[in-house]
Symmetry: C2
């Protein structure tokens, strides 16, 4: 494919961009309940199958889902590890919460000990 040559920033770009659309988030929410075929995924949305197919492409390029083809049925599966990648970035870039700050301050106090 030669598409998979991505550094971490590129991966995060693709992941967050894929998440930045409510249809795609709804697709992921559905897939959390288990794998599903494309027409099944498309059913709840008031848009063409083609549009949903495009959204699935975006999710696939972001490695948020996998597709396995069996006959004419394409089954989509969530890739939880990619969601974890996004969670990790957020966790690393959210400042410590008050109680965490308190804990950190206690640590600092116990070190300086003046």
């Amino acid at each position: 494919m030669s598409h998979s040559v991505q550094n971490n920033e590129e991966r995060l770009d693709l992941i967050f961009q894929a998440l930045a659309n409510r249809t795609r988030r709804a697709l992921l929410a559905r897939l959390k309940r288990g794998p599903a075929m494309v027409t099944e995924l498309a059913k709840p949305f008031g848009m063409s199958l083609n549009a949903v197919s495009k959204h699935l492409n975006v999710l696939e390029r972001a490695s948020l889902i996998n597709r396995s083809i069996e006959g004419r049925v394409h089954t989509c599966t969530l890739i939880p590890a990619t969601i974890t990648t996004a969670e990790k970035w957020l966790g690393a870039n959210r400042p410590a919460r008050p109680n965490e700050v308190n804990a950190l301050q206690k640590d600092l106090e116990s070190v300086s000990e003046d």
Copy 2:
């Protein structure tokens, strides 16, 4: 402003879209270390101040940052709660991990108890 009329999906759209750009993620990473003025934020990036100002607008509309004006200096501050909003969505839409599944299965077994 009349801009702040947003339901949850709109808010998530704005948040994830704001996160879907490496310059903006770098800005947030910088702001995690504390508030900063606009020129200071712009310094590390090879682009015009105007471009950075636009990025800050995107972050502000997503409620990821705040701006306080004092004289001619606009100071930007991170809003951690909004990052938490994104984290919550991800946490709710990542399937349970194996150990969590085990815990859940144990719960179920202890209930049905046949």
